[in-house]
Symmetry: C2
Subunit: 433 residues, 2 copies
């Protein structure tokens, strides 16, 4: 009878600030990082997971994950995996840890990491990728995973079930289609603020030539510069190509409206994070005033209650889930259901370290078992750091190929972990010397 | 030229779960705790501060405070204290740490602890209690401390200045009056869910006899039980005595409305935290449906952007600031200004470890230099753990006496720190054996 033995966390960091990959209006010098969790058992099996961060504080995130050890260590693996929804809920309800959120920030991401590691372990045992394992659960089994507290004013258990039941017919067909055609993607690779015009132009051409049918550029620096960069992109890609803009929370309401009026001639496909991710009412006001430009947000939205309000207030046209921001698979399932309930498309945030690898499972679950469509939906893609994963995200002709290896996507190569361990791995020993 | 030398954090915990002090509908077994910060300098001066938690995770909170060391260690103390607003803003804007919030949870509370420790140090140097030091700053100096990003749709810099300037006349008179009469308080001491009826009844009598003119009871357990306990309180205190109810986030919208309809015959003075602290729209809906019962919230509201929305949406009748939940003095100043802008009274949350000692300074600042009134305002009081502080909060005839020692209120006695240090202080060595 195997038991959980430890929550081993490795502080993994990549020195990306040296190249300005990932630079935007609010995050000038990210070192893409992961608090990497290896959830170990007495049988030698393990569940892998991570929380993405951008450098400093990755150690704090690791401590937060370790602080959940008492929920699992010593417990029977079979029993926990059989009641995986309950195991996640118990961490959310931990009456002492709850004070540190509640349900937000470092502790919520830590809970998400543990939930995701449990699913990874379950996937390994059942020999399936996460998207498929979840998509084959019954509507009842899926709803059991969701914490409906604070959601029932917009979605009861019955309504959630109804959404899932509606998509049961056609699941097999969509699974086959997904495996054949993949899931649509868009790329942010060309769009970082720190790149020169020449580099951006070259990367835009490459993106189009590789088959992407949508790109995203960072904005929120100097408005004239934003418009100029959009102009270059329009010249390369043409008038009708969807080019989204991402302000990374740079503005207040008035600034956002002014900036989007200035950028309107370049027809941005959407404006992402125009203001604080906490500001539901400001998103709603901005959306109203810049229509028909669409508003997207989500990568920093900290839980299902905030997504609920963004949808209630008609504040967003696009919901951007993130694999490691909220309380894991269970909370993201709640958010996917809310989006379906309000008929708003989900276009997941990705990039970073492992976010593409992880979040693709959730988008594919959405297609097979929740919304039942890929209409207006694309997963973000950024072309770096994939080589460190056991099963890297694969893009073919601008689409994510469905992952087939067992797992939830976060498992990294042992050599990558040891090489980039902070501060004592060889990469950092060299840089910090 | 003194410099900062370290951010020393002590994990202090009190085994309060043994007595059910502090028990409520969501927090059944708190061990009142503090991540206690001693901000040390090369001259031997220090700034004291803390983040209140309820047990597990207090170590994670401590790690988060230590993660801010690079912002201060090695820097010139005089220079930092002269630009204390800028020092706080730099931590909020730390582009890598920001990812862990942004502006919420463990990292925001850590920033608050450092900001508050800087003010404590400045108070020690100037020989003044925090409330007085702040209340003697000019409107311009106060506004310089506030981060107006994301607030300007409801309050511009000019509007904030105007609020402060309006209260400049009469400051000296209010300071004198505060020192003479103190600041109104209410007590939660009798109202914890874990107490027997007999204990509650005795404590209610004592509260009235001590001069309190308002009390608060925890609710959110069994509705019949809530009504019964309110009935006991009404019998002891009479029909017109303000008795507030605190649900500690227990309900969704429908449950909150039903529970308050059931409790309405007992005329609760307000309902506190009827639902998730993140749910602005639910608070607004509940308030609309249970009027004229008032709605209060704030002890878990994680930043000024959330308070702004609660006020914009007319979701609250009472703003409850907390000394250690948000980004310290600076963010609480923003919240006090927002409340004044919307003409909503502030009744601070207190209790825990050191919250009474700390938050009284902010309420007194509000009286002297912001709202200019104590009308409908009271600071919460709970009667435990005060003996561990250098200057314990003092209640006389149901009012907080204005603190007079230099400092921001969080400084604990060295013996209390060493005795309750977790897990190796003598109190815990005994209990954990």
């Amino acid at each position: 009878m195997p038991t959980f033995t430890s929550l081993d966390v490795t502080d993994v960091r990549f020195p990306t600030s040296r190249t300005l990959d990932g630079s935007d209006a609010m995050n000038q010098d990210p070192d893409y990082s992961a608090a990497y969790l290896d959830l170990r058992t007495s049988s030698g099996e393990s569940g892998a997971s991570l929380v993405f961060t951008i450098g400093r504080g990755n150690d704090v995130q690791g401590e937060a994950i370790r602080a959940l050890s008492h929920h699992l260590v010593g417990r029977d693996v079979d029993e926990v995996l059989a009641g995986i929804g309950r195991a996640g809920a118990a961490m959310i309800e931990d009456s002492q840890l709850r004070w540190l959120g509640p349900e937000k920030g470092v502790m919520q991401m830590a809970i998400g990491a543990v939930v995701n590691a449990l699913w990874d372990l379950r996937c390994m045992r059942e020999g399936k990728p996460l998207w498929l394992l979840l998509a084959e659960l019954s509507p009842e089994e899926l709803v059991e995973l969701v914490d409906l507290r604070y959601l029932e004013d917009v979605m009861t258990r019955e309504e959630a079930l109804e959404i899932l039941e509606r998509s049961v017919p056609g699941r097999a067909e969509r699974i086959a289609r997904l495996r054949e055609e993949g899931y649509p993607a868009y790329t942010t690779t060309p769009g970082w603020l720190g790149y020169t015009d020449e580099k951006m132009e070259r990367l835009l051409r490459e993106a189009r030539d590789e088959g992407f049918d949508m790109v995203k550029l960072k904005v929120g620096g100097d408005p004239a510069d934003d418009l100029r960069r959009f102009g270059i992109a329009r010249k390369v890609l043409g008038e009708d190509f969807p080019i989204a803009a991402d302000a990374n929370q740079r503005w207040g309401v008035a600034e956002a409206v002014a900036a989007m009026e200035a950028l309107a001639p370049a027809s941005p496909y959407w404006i992402e994070e125009p203001t604080s991710p906490d500001d539901v009412l400001a998103h709603a006001e901005i959306r109203r005033r810049i229509a028909p430009i669409r508003v997207a947000t989500g990568e920093h939205v900290h839980n299902r209650v905030m997504f609920k309000q963004l949808l209630q207030a008609q504040a967003v046209d696009v919901v951007q889930i993130d694999a490691t921001r909220v309380g894991g698979v269970h909370e993201n399932l709640a958010i996917l259901l809310l989006a379906a309930r309000f008929d708003v498309p989900v276009c997941p945030h990705a990039g970073g370290v492992g976010l593409c690898e992880m979040v693709q499972h959730l988008a594919m679950l959405d297609y097979v078992a929740i919304s039942g469509t890929v209409q207006d939906r694309r997963i973000e893609y950024v072309d770096h750091l994939h080589e460190h994963f056991v099963e890297p995200a694969i893009i073919e002709a601008g689409r994510y190929r469905a992952p087939e290896l067992p797992g939830a996507g976060a498992r990294m190569l042992p050599d990558s972990l040891s090489t980039h361990r902070f501060p004592d791995g060889p990469v950092w020993r060299g840089l910090l010397r």
